[in-house]
């Protein structure tokens, strides 16, 4: 695969990019910190054992950087057939309730701009006859829940968009994959206490790579979250209001 990757420097993105490099996929990295991109590119080059990993500037908070970044990727890779987005912002509900600027940034980055980026990627993938668009949403978007109201709302919108995209364009060869991680031990969640079934980024990478290969439109990682969220989605409102989950 020839992969354009937004968010490969950290957390789950780092693990997934490594799994791809390991099996010989060609990667092009997008991100906003040049030094971080360079260090991750080195890491991936050593893992791949051969070939160069290149990168370009792209900032999820600046939509004007999306098209040029994807064009540079196309130029460097020749063309690409896969786009992965793991980048996103996270903050706790308490922080978001008091900080309007942060709230604006998070909602913009995780919903509006992620979709804007997907639209740019979609057009380019369809022009090349299709491919795979793999985007990291979250189980937080499955139901309105007290600890993740704002973050969950952005992810719910994103998941809805990704499902629609998959319905409309799969026949034209574009496979959209919505990844819904539960709690994963990364820098993003480092300040939080891990609940039961917390996953490692490497477990997520394995599961997502399998879903990309098989074209499965929806992945829960760890898999148990599919059943946890099924139960949560079907809880009556009266119960949902009383629990802290």
């Amino acid at each position: 695969m020839k992969v354009v990757f937004l968010g490969a420097t950290r957390g789950m993105g780092r693990a997934l990019a490594r799994a791809m490099a390991q099996r010989g996929d060609q990667l092009f990295l997008l991100g906003r910190d040049p030094e971080e991109l360079a260090r991750s590119a080195q890491d991936l080059e050593v893992i791949a054992g051969s070939g160069k990993v290149e990168g370009a500037f792209c900032d999820l908070l600046r939509p004007e950087t999306f098209a040029p970044a994807l064009d540079q990727a196309a130029q460097a890779l020749g063309s690409f057939d896969t786009v992965v987005i793991t980048a996103g912002l996270f903050a706790t509900q308490e922080q978001l309730e008091v900080d309007a600027a942060l709230r604006g940034e998070l909602l913009t980055a995780d919903f509006t701009n992620t979709i804007q980026f997907c639209e740019e990627a979609r057009q380019r993938l369809l022009a090349g006859g299709g491919g795979t668009l793999c985007v990291f949403s979250s189980v937080a978007g499955e139901r309105g829940r007290k600890p993740v109201i704002l973050y969950g709302a952005a992810k719910a919108g994103l998941s809805c968009y990704l499902e629609g995209l998959d319905h409309k364009f799969r026949a034209q060869g574009l496979r959209t994959i919505c990844v819904k991680p539960g709690f994963v031990k990364t820098g993003m969640t480092a300040g939080l206490k891990p609940p039961p079934f917390a996953a490692e980024p490497d477990d997520v990478a394995t599961a997502v790579l399998k879903a990309i290969d098989r074209g499965r439109p929806e992945v829960y990682v760890p898999g148990i979250w599919r059943w946890v969220m099924l139960a949560i989605r079907n809880l009556p409102r009266a119960v949902m209001r009383r629990i802290a989950f």
Binding site: P34, A38, E54, F57, A91, M188
Partner: protein, 468 residues
């Protein structure tokens, strides 16, 4: 890599937007921290980030995977903000011509092994577990089955990038800030925060191991076979039964090995296996000496009287205990300690027999004993090994453990030996001083780089007498 048109990130607020999700020391939660022995347990704030430079700024110590057994990786009282390196795990450079590799300090050894073993490279020195970080390997100046020929890990480290106590970030090596470099090898992370490690991997003929193992009838033959093995083999280790008494005490298995040659090894690279985890269900009373006696007897009998030879998986050879994760849980919540000391070489085996006799006198519940012969002292100013035989003894923590370690330390001092700080949880400051003539020289270098005592650990307060 080539970067296409990368403008420097503007210094505006958006650059910091992600910092809310990426705690520095200030907002890391208070958690209970412990080493591999699960004793002692200390409360502290462990900041985790992919960006080690940022979180080491205000931290009193950097810890990795917490595989030191005692309190070496734990925060000191009153200085409970520490940095965790495990998310800083990238490989930054590799030169296949020289074998020199550079990586962030949190890079775990298992990751390096899985990248480089199939390509015919391996670390010249590995400890008995691959769940350690490079930073931890430097800080403890680890040794392994090849110590008698390859020395400690520090002998193969070419450069370090560190953040020292005054906040500066610098590189050190044998040519640059040599004092700092040598005080950091085996310096238990107390001379500065280790950020990046550069060392030399060794080319190996195949990624498989040729192993031979032999059963020994008593302690003398165990020591004799170990010595003879090290004359001819690059890697040796043994396992001895110290629970059994009488003439068979100290009998065991001696294992020797080398990298297999292309003709004798499988042509496919070894497959890496997923290790299941031990659940946290065992009470402290679970593991009893009688069970370990049966376990030891089974290992001994199962091996058989003949010499076993053949190709084994490198992870089976180097990391037999890593087949299950969290095996420390079988000791229950009270935990265990590993007492590891080295007894210097002497003309006969008298010193070693006295050690075994002392253990029996003290009624020490030695659940596992791993003797290993050591080569010469390395360049690390405070590194553990010196010529002689090292004994690693696993002991469950009980009310008597402090008295037992005190008594053993007095024996070790009298015999001219010393203990390994990476395993230690009980040694008293006066005992360590008595076994370590190099301590003052190391402390001078440490003071030079950290005059105000910013860097410290629970262990440095206990063993080096850092004042709270």
């Amino acid at each position: 890599m080539t970067l296409h048109a990368l403008p420097r990130r503007p210094a505006d607020s958006e650059a910091d937007a992600i910092s809310t999700a990426d705690p520095t020391g200030a907002d890391a939660p208070l958690t209970r921290l412990s080493g591999w022995g699960r004793y002692p347990v200390v409360e502290g704030h462990e900041a985790l980030s992919e960006n080690l430079e940022r979180i080491t700024g205000g931290a009193a110590l950097t810890r990795g995977l917490g595989r030191s057994y005692g309190d070496a990786s734990l925060p000191a009282p009153g200085h409970n903000h520490v940095a965790g390196s495990v998310l800083a795990d990238r490989v930054l450079a590799f030169d296949p011509d020289t074998g020199i590799v550079r990586a962030e300090a949190g890079c775990p050894l298992w990751r390096l092994n899985r990248i480089f073993l199939p390509r015919g490279f391996f670390t010249p020195v590995t400890p008995g577990t691959h769940y350690v970080t490079l930073g931890g390997m430097v800080a403890a100046d680890v040794h392994g089955k090849s110590h008698h020929v390859d020395g400690c890990f520090g002998e193969h480290v070419t450069r370090l990038k560190m953040r020292v106590a005054d906040g500066r970030i610098l590189e050190c090596s044998d040519d640059e800030e040599r004092d700092l470099f040598r005080a950091t090898l085996g310096g238990m992370g107390l001379t500065g925060h280790i950020l990046e490690v550069e060392f030399r991997l060794r080319r190996i003929p195949t990624p498989w191991i040729w192993q031979e193992s032999e059963r020994t009838a008593d302690f003398d033959s165990t020591l004799e076979r170990l010595r003879a093995g090290s004359q001819q083999w690059p890697m040796t280790v043994c396992w001895a039964d110290f629970l059994i008494s009488g003439p068979r005490a100290g009998r065991g298995l001696v294992m020797v090995g080398r990298w297999a040659e292309p003709g004798e090894a499988p042509t496919t690279p070894p497959r890496f296996r997923h290790a299941p985890s031990v659940p946290p269900l065992f009470p402290s009373w679970f593991l009893q000496p009688w069970m370990m006696r049966i376990f030891n007897w089974l290992i001994y009998v199962k091996h058989g009287a003949r010499v076993r030879r053949g190709i084994v998986h490198p992870e089976t050879f180097f990391y037999p205990l890593d087949v299950v994760r969290n095996w420390n849980r079988i000791y229950g919540p009270r935990g265990f300690t590993q007492y590891q000391c080295v007894l210097p070489t002497s003309g006969d085996n008298g010193r070693h027999h006295r050690f075994l006799a002392r253990l029996h006198e003290l009624n020490a519940p030695v659940f596992l004993c791993v003797p290993k012969d050591c080569g010469p002292e390395g360049k690390g100013m405070l590194s553990f090994p010196k010529p002689g035989v090292s004994y690693a003894l696993d002991l469950p923590v009980t009310a008597q453990t402090q008295a037992l370690v005190d008594a053993l330390n007095e024996f070790v001092i009298a015999e001219g030996g010393r203990v390994y700080l990476a395993k230690d949880a009980f040694t008293r400051a006066e005992h360590f001083r008595a076994m370590e003539p190099r301590l003052d020289a190391w402390k001078r270098v440490r003071r030079q780089w950290d005059p105000h005592g910013t860097l410290r650990s629970a262990q440095s307060v206990r063993v080096f007498g850092d004042t709270p």
